[in-house]
């Protein structure tokens, strides 16, 4: 999954016409609820925001699941460390209530911990729910619109300008790197291990050289186009509010907040 693909998806999502501020706010509210809520609410958030991303925005399910599987894979790799505990035999009594099942291994007793399982479940639900929220943002709001929101809410200009230039030129850099890589491949530059290292070194050196060259050219262009020390652009995008989506978002968030509150009050 390259960054270019994600970018293209964001530009062609069906929620593109909604104001980016609203989408961003929606995701942030859900993210906050995720942090304070319990597992069932977190799972509900993950499910609900996935419906937004896949069904409402029309992001291909396969792409979405592949992105989500990254988080799940990280969670799975840390699972053994979370759920398994070990203790030396003389202290076996102290964990009687916590142990689910276990076996002796030499002088030790390895067991599946109740507390560990609980912890792993909490971690998993929270991780999946919060990444689903983040994916909603990056898959439905193009980066340029996130930038313009940042500009409007008063993020320092230097920061937004830097991000804008990085966003523009990261693709030029990636393209250059890909072209160099292909050129090296076509001359068998990565045939053996030693060659591999040598070619990679060349590639990085060339990238640096071309970056410097590019920098010189771009500063010429910026001057030629009347750069005044302050990078300003305009756009004429028109956003449409949608009652239907607005209602669903408000209703859903209220319900989730109430559920979370209820959890706290009743102490379940």
């Amino acid at each position: 999954m390259s960054s270019l693909q994600i970018d293209t998806l964001a530009y062609s999502s069906r929620l593109r016409q909604l104001p980016p501020e609203h989408k961003l706010l929606f995701a942030i509210v859900l993210l906050i609820i995720t942090y304070v809520a319990q597992i069932p609410v977190q799972l509900a958030i993950a499910g609900w925001i996935s419906v937004w991303t896949v069904i409402y925005a029309g992001i291909p399910t396969l792409v979405y699941l592949r992105l989500l599987s990254i988080t799940i894979a990280f969670w799975l790799t840390s699972l053994p460390a979370l759920v398994m505990s070990g203790i030396d035999l003389p202290h076996l009594q102290t964990i009687q209530t916590d142990a689910w099942a276990g076996f002796r291994w030499g002088d030790y007793y390895l067991y599946l911990s109740h507390q560990g399982v609980q912890q792993a479940a909490e971690l998993g639900a929270r991780a999946i729910a919060s990444t689903a929220c983040i994916y909603f943002v990056i898959l439905t709001i193009p980066f340029t619109e996130i930038l313009s929101v940042l500009r409007r809410i008063g993020c320092p200009t230097l920061l937004t300008e830097l991000m804008m230039m990085m966003y523009r030129f990261i693709f030029v850099l990636l393209k250059t790197a890909r072209e160099l890589w292909t050129a090296q491949q076509s001359r068998s530059g990565y045939r053996t291990r030693t060659l591999w290292m040598k070619s990679l070194g060349l590639l990085i050196g060339q990238l640096l050289r071309r970056t410097l060259e590019n920098y010189r050219q771009v500063s010429l262009t910026l001057n030629s186009r009347g750069f005044t020390g302050d990078f300003r652009v305009c756009h004429s995008r028109q956003y449409k509010l949608s009652k239907r989506y607005g209602f669903e978002a408000l209703f859903g968030c209220t319900l989730l907040v109430m559920l979370t509150g209820w959890h706290y009050v009743t102490g379940i």
Binding site: Y11, V172, S224, R225, T228, C234, H235
Partner: protein
Amino acid sequence: MLLEFEKVDYTYPSSPQPALQSLTLRIPKGKRCALLGHNGCGKTTLFLLANGLYKPQNGAIHWQGSPMRYDRKSLMDLRQKVGLVFQDPEQQLVASTVEEDISYGLCNLGLPDPEVNQRVGQAITAFNLSELATRPVHHLSLGQKKRVSLADVMVLQPELLLLDEPTAYLDQRQTRDLMAKLRQIQATGTTIVMATHDLDLAYCWADWIFVLNQGQLILEGTPQDVFAQREILEQLHLGVPLVFDVLDKVAEALSNQSEQADYQVMNKIPEPLRNRILDVFRYS
């Protein structure tokens, strides 16, 4: 005269040879000029000097009769009047969407937002960019990027348009579209100078030609006059447009035939016919 170079020298700090040597060149107002020469003959340097990006080390540049000044305000003014389209559109497009990129130059002039948006809208229609307007720049093909970079400059309504190898990244059809666009631009009173090494293109499009070699002006004049100087052009390894070559070959073939045959044939293409053929190729 719109822009005059008087005995201008320029040498890059890292290079042993001068890029321009005592170059004197005058760009006439309202013409379509082609700047011909090999790679490294100083075409790009000339453009960067004309845009006030470099300062001549010797000599002077005059814009509309008065010497070029290099303070901030004069430069801003000059760069609005002299539009430069770089060879590689990748380095010219700096903002992230097409629309924002076109607005960049106007925003730099400090115009109010409604006027900027209105002029950007006009440029987008004029350059057939409506479908691309909100797309990010890195989603475009090279031909499309080239079109955007021309719109970037034309939105500022310059009096002089400098194009550095504008057809370098274009296919046949895109080249033809670009030429049509340039004709329209010239019709509104903009002077155009195009650096190229495509002789056929220069012949069929330009009405004034400069030939540059090793930083010096070798020839200038109308296409017919310049390309009639075949010997000089051959010496520079530039050659002449295909139509001149074809006509000369035909004339040669005719004269050879006349030696073999006894009867009298025209061993030359008659002058009026030759001129008519040349004209047909010029305005095609």
